[in-house]
Amino acid sequence: MTHYQMGNPGSYPYLLALWLLPLVGAIVAWAFGPQLKRLAGPLCSALLGASFVATLLSWHDATQSVATGAANLVGAHQALVSWIPGFNFGLLLDPLSLLWTCIITGVGFLIHVYSIGYMEGDNAFARFFAYLNFFVFAMLTLVLSDNFVGLLVGWGLVGLASYFLIGFWFYKPSAVAAARKAFVINVAGDVGIMFAIFMIVASVHSISYGDVFGSVGSLSTPWLLAICICLFIGAAAKSAQVPLHTWLPDAMEGPTPVSALIHAATMVTAGVYLVARCAPLWSQSPDAQLLVGSIGGVTALAGAILGCVQWDIKRILAYSTMSQIGYMIMGVGVGAYEGGVAHFFTHAFFKAQLFLGSGIIIHALANEQDVRRMGGLVKKLPFAFVAMLVGVLAICGIPGFSGSFSKDAVIYGTLQHGHPVLYAVGILTAGITAYYMFRLLFVTFLGAYRGEVDPSDLGIRHPELAGTHTAHDDHGHDAHHAPAWLMNVPVGILIVPSILAGWLLFGGENSPWAHFFAQQFPQATLATPAVSEMTTTLIVLACVAIGIAIAWRRYATRDAQDTAVERLRTESVKMPAILANAFYFDAALDLVFVRSSQLLGTLFGRLIDPQVIDGAVRETAFSAQWLGTFVRSFQTGLVRAYAFILVLGVACFLVYYAVTAGGLH
């Protein structure tokens, strides 16, 4: 493919509208927050809803030209402005960005509505919605941009939104630290993309997707690999891939709707988007594919393993998110773009649902997040149970639920693209996923309520560190409770796609999904694996069954339910250090980057600057002063001494003149 075309150029007012509406909402809610008060939530939600509608309308516009035969390529491309000479900015709505836009605006809308209920009574209600809308705008910038710099702008802005929202309760030191960590790691990722842009500009002299992808053939293999790696650094940071994942669990400091929207459904999948978007690059670089696929696999496995040992309900979901994104990255990494992207699609629904479900629990338990202090909630919160159950079934890949289709597509895709090891990793991870998700479900909902048990009996050593947050006092629950439906309806709506979304993939190569993306991704010639797709599904199912069985045995049998308190304590206390410390990734990053920077900073700032450089200056000044005193010391005040100096000077003169005059002869 020597020429890469990005949709049909033209003017698409709806496209512009869908992009800018959330920005309007953000600015209005931010600027007039005190005046809007509680109206900010509905306003921002409405704007986002309008944005969703505009998405559909603009897609309609985009397909219009195909329908009338004016073009054969589905997509809308609107050039906007020349940012700086040579850096032109425009919007691109093609199947890939449409998918993301739909999730961002659609799921985003639901989460907004949910938030009206969840954030009710918070002091900074309007600010919250301003941030949320700003995030949506940033994320739309990211996915709708038609060039790498626009992508990077969006990339940075979503990081900022994420920073604001993680640190939303900025009076909590832990939230502040988590926000900063997330931001800094994400900037490290931005820097990767930035460097990729340098390389792209240096070789292609353009930042437009069209130009870049059109001239892939002219890039040398190492150069292409370098670009891919740099891009992937950005993707890894944003999508919490090993080893840049450590910010994601901490990011759960933010309000739960934030976790649902940003740290599950949309922002963290930006890495997937990037790899899928740059499919033309990756497809030409098998080494990059292997690398990305492997890292995705490792992340999937590591996330799943760490998910098994968490107690904070949101951290469990966070690790599961990390693991699922690992799947997606693995999929798009090895070249199974439809599969990876599909998993993003289904994951957005069921993970949003899981988070929102857990949000209902947290809300109901006055911000209790530790599953050890839950239990028996099935009777208290039946709706939450249903929501969580559907989510768990979907994430585990139980046939018929959405997750099964997409996950199988990814796992099978690895084999199709010739990566049997990753195939095995995918299957194994599926089993572990089933284990920890059902563990979550059982511990939370079955047995007796343990909220009144002394935390230390449950093995909770540092309640404040273990995720037992009782301090969201601003987040008052007593005053005007919003109607429960505000939180329940969005969750209820999400149940539908959580179950059904996967069916779009039904039918393999003839599925609507495959048709939709037919023009989007480069088609590789696929091997015909020894194992069929059906067999794969069965193997996965077997693993899942084993996982569920273990979870059942450990947490759900009558016996286990009765001895839950001791069980949980033993498990908490005897957790292997390597797991408790999450494979020491945090410590290693801290040592290598944070400590060393601080050491250098201290060395420069405390020693070299004041002592060595400024010391030299002071020494010079001092020696000037000393010279002054030295010169003074000749001024003894004695006339004869002065005369002596004078005569000495005369002697020098005379010697010079005598010698010079003598030399003339």
């Binding site: 010279l627 001024q635 006339v639 004078l646 000495l648 000077g649 005379l654 010079y656 010079t660």
Partner: protein, 476 residues
């Protein structure tokens, strides 16, 4: 040599004569003037005399004439230097009005005027005798002036100046004798004979002659007298001495090196002077660093400033001459201005010019502090002052004539000096709640006026760089 003396020869001496006669008039008038106005009479007569001399002198600009067979040469060169001397004398007489002792002022004014005569004579001196005469007239009057204060330090300064200056004069005189021996003539014009270029007598004689010059210019290592004498002498005398001595001596020096040397030997012959100038730029500025007395500090500053002026002359180019004169003129006003401000603030006591008295000046007298700051900045060579432009011009000549090393010495010296000047500025702007030093003469209008004039000139010279073209020294 033309033995006949015409009227034109006498007219050439007219400015000097006017000043000398004015001195006599001052003395006579003092006998008759009532006691309570006698100081004003003396000052007024002195100012009138100097002004008349200045006007008469200016008329000679552009009319080059070698009077008395070349003994005294009038021209643009001598006019400029004489005017500088007159300005210095005017300034210091005014300062006498500000701080002087009423009973002795007539004598001091007269001596000052005679001293100025000496310096003016030097400005036009065309042979060794005139030079010696002018030099001694200048010096003898100054010895007396230095001692004209009822302080031990003043007497000490007179004594030190007397001894050391006489020794230097002795060396210079001996050098003159050798020069005479080499050339058979005392006229500067006769030293240009090519045959003299390799005459050892000329070299040694010139060396001793230059020693005398260096002493009067207070170049290191012949500078030792100047800090003590400047500190001890009455403030107006210091002001006068710091400018007039330098002006007169520079005139002699410039005439000697520009017009009185056999062709080709200047670079070698004068090398020691340039080295000494470079050392002065550094050592003078370094010497300022540890001073606690303004007059003493300005003495060291003067040592360095002369170094800068010499750097302009090093190339021996006409432009260099002009820039040296420009810088000397600028220096005259900066220095006089600084002394004028000092006179505003201190009586002429032992402690009068201690830097400690300047602490917190900005609070007590912001305008005085601002003016002093401007003069110090000008001495340091910061814009928007003539010092800045003067340094640029000097740098440009020294760079273009192959004496870049003098330019670098100038830069290094300036950098050092800045620290010292800034120290004074800092003291003035220090916020001192217990500022006890009283300002002795806070409202002497004459001193204010002279300081203000200096401010205007120092700034104006930056924007209208007067570098008169007709200033090449002549020998006949």
């Amino acid at each position: 040599m033309n033995p006949t003396v015409t009227n034109a020869d006498w007219y050439a001496l007219a400015p000097i004569a006017i000043v000398a006669i004015a001195a006599l008039v001052v003395l006579i008038a003092d006998l008759f003037a009532p006691k309570h106005v006698n100081r004003y009479v003396a000052i007024a007569l002195g100012v009138i005399g100097l002004a008349a001399a200045g006007i008469d002198c200016a008329a000679a600009y552009g009319h080059d004439y070698a009077a008395f067979g070349g003994a005294f040469i009038v021209g643009g060169f001598s006019v400029v230097f004489q005017e500088i001397v007159i300005v210095a004398a005017l300034g210091s007489i005014v300062l006498y009005g500000a701080i002087g002792n009423g009973e002795r002022i007539a004598g001091a004014v007269a001596l000052l005027l005679w001293s100025a005569c000496g310096a003016m004579l030097m400005a036009g001196a065309g042979n060794l005798m005139t030079i010696f005469l002018g030099l001694e007239l200048l010096s003898l009057a100054l010895y007396c002036l230095c001692g004209l204060a009822d302080r031990p330090t003043a007497r000490e300064s007179a004594f030190k100046y007397l001894i050391l200056s006489s020794v230097a004069s002795g060396f210079m005189l001996y050098g003159m004798a050798l020069l005479f021996g080499a050339s058979g003539s005392v006229a500067l014009a006769d030293f240009t004979a090519p045959a003299l270029a390799s005459n050892p007598l000329l070299w040694i004689g010139a060396g001793l002659f230059l020693v005398g010059i260096s002493f009067k210019l207070s170049l290191v290592p012949f500078h030792a007298w100047s800090p003590d004498v400047y500190e001890g002498a009455p403030l107006p005398v210091t002001a006068f001495m710091s400018v007039a001595t330098k002006a007169g001596t520079l005139a002699v020096f410039a005439r000697f090196i520009y017009a009185a040397l056999p062709a080709g030997i200047a670079p070698k012959l004068l090398l020691p002077i340039w080295i000494v100038a470079a050392i002065s730029m550094i050592a003078g500025n370094v010497g300022m660093l540890a001073q606690h007395d303004l007059k003493r500090l300005l003495a060291y500053s003067g040592i360095a400033q002369v170094g800068y002026i010499l750097a302009a002359l090093a190339g021996g180019t006409p432009l260099g001459m002009r820039y040296a004169i420009f810088y000397l003129a600028a220096y005259t006003f900066m220095n006089l201005g600084a002394f004028a401000v000092a006179a505003l603030l201190s009586d002429d006591g032992e402690q009068g010019s201690r830097l400690a008295n300047y602490r917190g000046l900005a609070q007590r007298s912001p305008v005085a502090a601002a003016m002093m700051t401007l003069f110090l900045l000008a001495l340091a060579g910061l814009p928007p002052t003539a010092g800045f432009l003067g340094k640029i011009l000097i740098l440009s000549t020294s760079v273009s004539t192959g004496y870049a090393w003098l330019g670098i010495a100038l830069i290094v010296g300036t950098a050092i000096s800045l620290y010292a000047y800034a120290k004074v500025i800092r003291a003035m702007y220090e916020r001192n709640e217990h500022a006890h030093a009283h300002d002795a003469h806070p409202s002497v209008p004459l001193a204010w006026v002279s300081a203000a004039i200096c401010v205007v000139v120092v700034i104006a010279l930056t924007f209208y760089p007067l570098t008169p073209s007709n200033v090449l020294p002549l020998v006949r």
